[in-house]
């Protein structure tokens, strides 16, 4: 038993920081620094929006990461359900990604609200994208609550995978019904090209670096968070080994 626990300890220490996480972490720091400098000092302010446009360098990347996080959760959940051995790694990635996604989604709504107050004169508008995002946030808070329900690891994985996939069904329905209900959001300026922000080169570059930086931050957080979750699960199963041994000696003592 001691040998088993010492090997698990070794794997933990070896896994805490790998070259990959170090690289991703370094990329995140560098690109974040670039976004701060570029976003606050290098890029010009917008003709119409003034300095408020600088919020975009945070708002757009966090929104992108939030949606990316929930796509990752959905894919990892599907992988868990479909994988024949039900590898718990998928479940941990799904959980870690949803946790990080909820934080980024809250940041998206916060930064969007501040920008909206300055530009539209209101914190909130009943626009399909805003409303869908808010519902996504609540849905994934519920998802995290389901993960916390307790029970065995397999039960947690199965339940939460089903909830994650049901959310994938739900979100398009919410989006479509709000879209039918009303629409007044300005069109995405990068994608359509005819929005009201005239993007010059430095703005576009800063925005793209922001997307890369936030994506790296997301990847770094998810990797570390899944490792922590793996350690928690491993502690549970090593406790199982210890408990098994306890029970064995208990029954030997009673014989």
């Amino acid at each position: 038993m001691t040998s088993a626990s010492s090997t698990t300890t070794q794997t933990f220490t070896a896994k805490v920081a790998t070259p990959t996480t170090r690289l991703v972490g370094a990329m995140a720091i560098v690109s974040m620094a670039w976004v701060v400098l570029g976003g606050l000092f290098v890029t010009p302010s917008d003709v119409n929006q003034g300095d408020a446009v600088r919020i975009m360098y945070v708002h757009v990347p966090t929104a992108w990461v939030a949606y990316l996080a929930f796509i990752v959760t959905a894919i990892a959940s599907a992988c868990w359900l479909l994988s024949r051995k039900h590898a718990m790694g998928f479940d941990r990635v799904a959980g870690a990604s949803a946790e990080v996604g909820v934080i980024f989604m809250a940041m998206t709504l916060l930064s969007g609200g501040l920008w909206g107050r300055i530009t539209w004169g209101t914190y909130w508008a009943w626009d399909p994208r805003l409303t869908t995002t808010a519902f996504l946030l609540v849905t994934y808070i519920g998802y995290l609550a389901v993960r916390g329900l307790g029970g065995s690891l397999e039960q947690r994985a199965r339940r939460s995978a089903v909830i994650a996939l049901l959310a994938v069904l739900e979100i398009p329905l919410v989006h479509f019904s709000v879209l039918m209900w009303r629409s007044l959001h300005q069109r995405a300026s990068v994608l359509s090209g005819d929005g009201d922000i005239k993007m010059d080169g430095s703005m576009l570059t800063t925005l793209l670096v922001g997307v890369i930086g936030f994506t790296c931050t997301f990847a770094w957080l998810v990797m570390h968070r899944s490792r922590v979750l793996a350690m928690q699960d491993a502690v549970q199963s090593s406790q199982l080994d210890a408990a098994l041994q306890d029970r064995a000696s208990e029954s030997a003592g009673l014989k």
Binding site: S152, E154, Q236, R247, A248
Partner: protein, 211 residues
């Protein structure tokens, strides 16, 4: 002699605790086996694992020829578990509760009437709401549901708990009769005096292992 239950070094985890820690245990068809042992030894977990309710995480476990590590679903239609809860609908009458199971599996009304008669829950009491019944009557009603469901393996967790002497005798008679019709019965009980006469064999469960 076919094995109805075949556990080999089976580990079953309940709430993160290895309630069954490497149990090896066989039961052949038609046996009435008494499981005895202190509280928390794993008797209930053993019964629930046999019913396909709890996953077997290590070792091997076969019930009625079905490998529980692979498929816990198909064994369920063939076993009957009576735990601490009776699994009855309190707002329905005895007759309606038994009819519910009969209709689900497609048993005839005659079968229900015959079973209720044998169990001594026919006549006026059959149309009483379950919530108004005594503990013994509820237990008999729950056992009648197992009979109607034609369970091949009966898993009874403390079937005598909370019953008076008469109620206990009635439960014993029902178990004997089920056994005579070919059902295999596992009983977890503290009532050694009483169940020893009933059982063909008794084993003790200690600290998650069967001895």
């Amino acid at each position: 002699m076919s094995l109805v239950v075949d556990f080999r070094d089976a580990v079953v985890v309940f709430n993160g605790f290895p309630a069954l820690a490497g149990a090896t245990f066989q039961v052949t068809r038609g046996e009435v086996v008494l499981l005895q042992g202190p509280n928390g030894a794993g008797k209930t977990t053993l019964l629930r694992a046999c019913a396909g309710l709890l996953p077997v995480v290590r070792g091997s476990a076969n019930v009625l020829g079905i490998d529980l590590c692979v498929d816990r679903q198909s064994v369920r239609a063939r076993v009957g578990l009576l735990g601490h809860a009776n699994g009855l609908f309190a707002d329905l009458t005895i007759r309606e509760n038994i009819l519910f199971w009969a209709q689900v599996i497609g048993a005839s009304t005659d079968e229900v009437t015959a079973t209720m008669h044998r169990m001594g829950i026919d006549g006026r009491i059959a149309d009483e709401k379950v919530s108004l019944l005594s503990a013994g009557q509820k237990r008999r009603c729950a056992l009648a549901c197992l009979v109607v469901r034609r369970a091949e393996l009966w898993l009874l967790d403390e079937p005598h708990a909370g019953l008076d002497a008469k109620g206990r005798d009635e439960i014993d008679a029902i178990i004997r009769e089920a056994s005579s019709f070919g059902a295999t019965v596992l009983i977890a009980s503290h009532e050694l005096e009483r169940t020893k006469g009933l059982a063909t064999r008794s084993v003790s469960v200690v600290a998650g292992q069967v001895q």
